[in-house]
Subunit: 322 residues, 6 copies
């Protein structure tokens, strides 16, 4: 299977990060479902942005995250484990999304993520706007049953609709709850701030028992304390982690569509990501809303931290299995 071995041509030293074609962290790349056999985790891209209501550009996210990923990742210096040795990680390419047809793209994402789950692997989905959470979580829930959800974001994404449209990047969590794919009282939101959504959505959240931690609370109590509570709330059982890069302060992730000042630091988010993956029974994860054309810097610091969040997820999974 799989191609683009970084050692095929370069030998022991391996391909430099700037040369040739680059899969996520130089993992084996395949677009054939058969090659998923034996994989622990498969990275899948979901390059769409037609359902973003403001600044578009997340369609370039998966490619940028791959290019920013580290081809030479060894053991995590703080965690002491090398997820690429501990786990069999495959880059399963991008779901065959269709430009200007987000409904078809959602179907493709659900189908491709489903192939990963069917193969017994954990899908790690790189967005794409946050609307992809609906098909990717659904793909997991259809196989694992209703899921717990730990969700890092500046926004709840539990709108009923935006501009009259029900499926978009502001509504996936509402829909997943209503569809029964996410268990409301095992759903935790961390990092909320700004002024959206309004009372109606929060009232619905309270009724359902959804737990939210706003930035004011994160700052006051510290991330470790909040994460403890969040992990308790999610509890045992299958869990999906959905991380919107805009949970970070724009200083750390300027390249996103709805940046909101006053967010998390990179050190807190990287640690929390690894911890949740270590302490929860993760059956899937996504990382969304990276817009590489918007950062300004080169290398693009938003795609870069996107790639590192993905690596922390893998590290946490590896720690859990160790």
């Amino acid at each position: 299977m799989a191609t683009i071995d970084p050692h095929a041509r370069w030998g022991e030293h391996g391909r430099p990060d700037y040369a040739g074609l680059q899969s996520f962290c130089a993992c084996p790349y395949t677009e054939a479902a058969d090659d998923l056999a034996g994989a622990d985790v498969a990275v899948v891209g979901a390059p769409i942005d037609e359902l973003a209501t403001d600044y578009p550009g997340t369609r370039f996210g998966p490619r940028a995250i791959r290019l920013a990923s580290d081809s030479f990742a060894g053991a995590h210096l703080d965690a002491g484990v090398n997820p690429f040795e501990a786990l069999r990680v495959i880059d399963y390419g991008d779901a065959p999304v269709m430009p200007v047809d987000p409904i078809a793209s959602h179907a493709a994402i659900e189908r491709t993520v489903g192939e990963v789950v069917d193969a017994g692997a954990i899908p790690l989905v790189l967005g794409g706007d946050h609307s992809i959470a609906e098909p990717d979580i659904r793909a997991c829930a259809k196989r694992h049953g209703p899921l717990g959800l730990i969700h890092f974001d500046a926004h709840t994404d539990t709108g009923r609709h935006l501009w009259g449209v029900a499926v978009n990047h502001g509504t996936p969590m509402y829909r997943l709850i209503e569809q029964g794919h996410v268990v409301a009282d095992r759903y935790v939101q961390i990092g909320l701030r700004g002024s959206w959504p309004g009372e109606e959505e929060f009232a619905w959240q309270r009724e359902r028992g959804i737990r939210d931690f706003r930035m004011g609370e994160v700052l006051e109590r510290g991330i470790a304390d909040v994460l403890d509570d969040g992990i308790d709330a999610v509890g045992p059982g299958p869990v999906f982690a959905s991380i919107d890069i805009d949970v970070l302060d724009p200083a750390f992730a300027p390249g996103t569509g709805t940046p909101e000042p006053g967010g998390m630091t990179s050190t807190d988010l990287l640690w929390a990501t690894r911890e949740l993956a270590r302490r929860l029974e993760l059956v899937g994860a996504d990382l969304v809303e990276v817009i590489p054309t918007a950062s300004g810097s080169r290398p693009d610091i938003t795609a870069l931290i996107g790639s590192r969040i993905a690596t922390e997820l893998l590290t946490g999974i590896a720690l859990r299995r160790a």
Copy 2:
């Protein structure tokens, strides 16, 4: 009606370009159809990009073109006429497009442009991706009857569909011909290059009698000669002009979604735009595919030339009426 008079607060000198709210060339701004009475031309924005199959961002086009426009435009130095004195030009705001709902947005564009035509004014539509040509030309054709069309573009935009979708930024001209809103043998394309579309589309074009001038011919014969032929082919009767900024070489307009090297120069396009407006019976025009977030420079040179193309259209119309 109308608001934001640049002299209300600043007096005789007028508001500097960088201060306050800015309508197109400091023209009177209104969102009320009644205020269109007596207008010769009304500028309308169509800020969508959900139907772009590649690089998104044209939703920011109308605003950027307004901000790049010249609040102090006097007489055109080469043409000797001041279109803002010769014509009553209104900024009619943006059509009420709906994020993530391009079909609703198309309806809004058709409706808003229709209001302009109904008021007896020429709509000058600022895109947006090129899909907006379908509703804006249709709005004109429904009132003026089937139209001639002069179309500057690197691409024909006569695809039947892209990725299985019929309505998008690569198909409007095919659809307008098939719907009968554009008269095929009064339809001229100038500036084609690259390698799209293929034989199937060109065969269809030939059958219909559509005339195309590719860049090779423009370079060999010169723009003046080609434009003469083009204007002859369009002939008398109502005409729409549709200008895709990517007809320019990327050096002159880097901020666009499908830039294709080897295009027209700014001097040629500015001249040709004024000429066609002077020599043809224009009932409407659009300028599309400006992506201000992509240029790199500040001031953004793509939005800037976009604003100047709009001004040349107005200048040509003023010359014709003089």
Copy 3:
């Protein structure tokens, strides 16, 4: 009065942030003093930079802050109040500044801000370089009497002159004290760092009883503790808040003229801004030194946090009134 209602054309959903003309947070916009009647707060732009001694570009600040502001601001997620419901906020446009004539511009700023105060509203002034503090604070002090001043900045701005010039962005606070518009022992500076000004200026400050909190102290004690002391020092009575965006570390606000590393975080400043507005008797505020052309990122993270600081001021005022 007032125009550009985001619902006039878009109906219930409202205008998307990227479409049409945009006032601050989609508030009613007017340039007529009569329309100020009944307003609680009026936003005024002061787009000048001719008095900046280093990197120019703050003339583009007010427009960029408007464009970065949130048209859909609801209740503040941490504070639980929606300032745009609790208060009547008007966007009063930009003061009629005169390019290359900063003295005339200062007079225009003082006059325009004075109109707001005369109408019984709190002016919230968007700079512009910090020299605007002289006219905008003077306009308030002439009506409310000598003011307390809480000032967030990397620099004291209490120079006597720079390059022999008395009125510029490094001297407003010295002049306001000497003119008697600011009460020295009710004047507090927070966030000072770097190496300006020198002993002469600090000696003058000490003599007058001005209280300064340098970044070393902010870091050691924490912002909450320092702010408590600062608020005590300002005490009861009318107060002006002047916030120079460069009090933030350049990571959070790269787009400014004299960035100084080692500054405040966005989370600290946003919180402190809301708190001071809640706990002090604010009669006016300004936010200065945003240079949107310098940030690099798009959306521009400096203009963005500028807009959010303005919103925190409004939120604090709303909390105080509640």
Copy 4:
């Protein structure tokens, strides 16, 4: 005198362009008037922008042009002469301009340029906004008598005032004519376009006998033909050349404050610059309106062509003397 010899430390190979301090084309640098003795040409920077009415940033122009200049310039490949061998060229540093005090800066520019003329050298002044033409041409005219003027620009810069201010970047040529420093019928403008100024200014120009060549004419007749006419009109006698970088199309010089599409190409301007210096009796020249922070590209293509225009001036002078 003079310092920063590129061979002092690097020996025969010379200092690479990116290392150390860089004078214009690695010419000897001095700030002492005595060192001007024997110089044929002295480069002087005039880093101001306080008199620009729109986009500021030309204060960074002289430094950027120095950094973009070629430390290894040999013989001009088309002209066959090495101006740095044929002429003794000195970098005389920047005039001691005073931030926020443009009147003082103008005096400093006039004084510094005067020192160059007094030493018998030709000043080559790097702006700065175009207001610097007033002091730098006056410094020449006071010593050489009233001058001919050849002026490349998108704009005439013969306004009487802008926003009520008489001295700014839109008025120098009016003032120099009225002051008698420039001879009206030996004054030629090339490259005008856009829509400024208006009839009043052009009427004044016609009365005085000022000759203008607009872009339409340049395009129709070709630069060689137009330049012949322009050189005839200027005629024999002392001449100043003033080149505003915005005479170029924004594709070639995006980094400027009032870019106007439809301008000259770099090949035409470079050739014309060399030719005019070869065929006219140049006593001074300036190159203005480069804003290096605005180009977007790195290396900055606007500063780069600015440096090459300066080199063409030197090459033409060298050819004339050969």
Copy 5:
């Protein structure tokens, strides 16, 4: 062999340009020499810049050109042939260059290009700085015998050494002549300008019978006329084409290390590239000095025209074979 079929997952519509891994123009990709059998042309990347004496970054060139290339290239609109149908084009990946070891990288480039030639295919090499011309031309000459060379560039690249180093991006052509791999009187340079190299190098060129066309001549005579002469001078027999992107004016290719204003237009270069490939017996070609991190615009217009020059080469080859 070959992988990453754009239709494997996407079916008839093919993979959008922004999704998944992208080979040059979506051609079959392989790193195995066996897969070269039957190929007409093989694209090879040579991502190095350690031998650039000024602005580095060409190591990112091959990747950027691949990403900018057109996955849906059909028939060339002016030439009427689809090179990807007429020829069997393979993307052979990047030569296994070694960071910080340019000598090893040169050996790798020569070896990899040699594999292409050995397989009977024409190598189309994407740089990389211009030093790669030495190994890639040598690889061709070792198999085809001494070659004619047509070379588009602002510079001759016939230095003996720079800063005492013999192998770098300013010397390859001198070395290839001296090594006997290029036939001096079949070597033509087009587009020279600026002021490098000096008399010594040109004297050597004249002695050898190398023909150079400087920009002054190109502008005066037109590209068609100059190219006729150049093609005559190269004459029949095996030829290599080496195109340095800096032959273009910086307006068209800002992203390069030694940009020199006054260069060719994109229309001229694209046409000339196709023509030379059609009229000469090409055995190899390279395109060098693209620095994608320097352009400023996104999409990057320099990488874009780089990709189109490569396509024109293919188109010309296809025309010749037709």
Copy 6:
């Protein structure tokens, strides 16, 4: 000696930061070793990047840091001392590095730094990639004997080789230990994170007694506590401080070649830098890996904090001597 006195031409006010040639903090500039007599500290640039294995561009570092430095630095607001009064600081220019010849460049760096040490001054070296630590530390150690080393970095830089090459930016510390110039048990690393190097290198470090503090520990214990331990470990005796800008989080220093999210804040690093210089017997220091072309913002925030780190080193030295 020394030139470019900021008061020579500007008088009492001094030269504005944007005008003329700028040495580090406007210190006296010289390239003559004799002028070093009496200096306490000499700043030396080492502009190379040929030994960077990933993103190049540090060759532009020293110039950018000079341009970002503060010409008007007074007393440090937190520390209360003005290092430029307390110490005699000279800008000794850049070492005569040779493009494309890093071995020659290393020799030049070692020689130039040696001249500083021989003159009894402390060298403060501005990189350049981290490979420069080998020659600059060796130059100090040859005169002071084996040194303690305090090293802030995301990476250990103790590789044996990268891609088979022994001398590059990933290996200097290994080589310095093995050469005996750094005392292993007086060597402390702070800020390590990511996943490089691997077990082999860390095993070697442990064997030698090298002490490393990873970011996890820095975050948990706080920088003050960690620095106490680090300073204890280094102990009395001559020490070199080597600061790689990538020890900072990319939010604070985006312009570097191997940015790694999750790093230090600017406030922590600035404080720690000053403290270590105050508490240790510093005989030299370097600051490396600033790539000014990569930041995106203007002013460039990475060069800016680079300049401030250098000033903190000077401040700490001044405090120690006070």
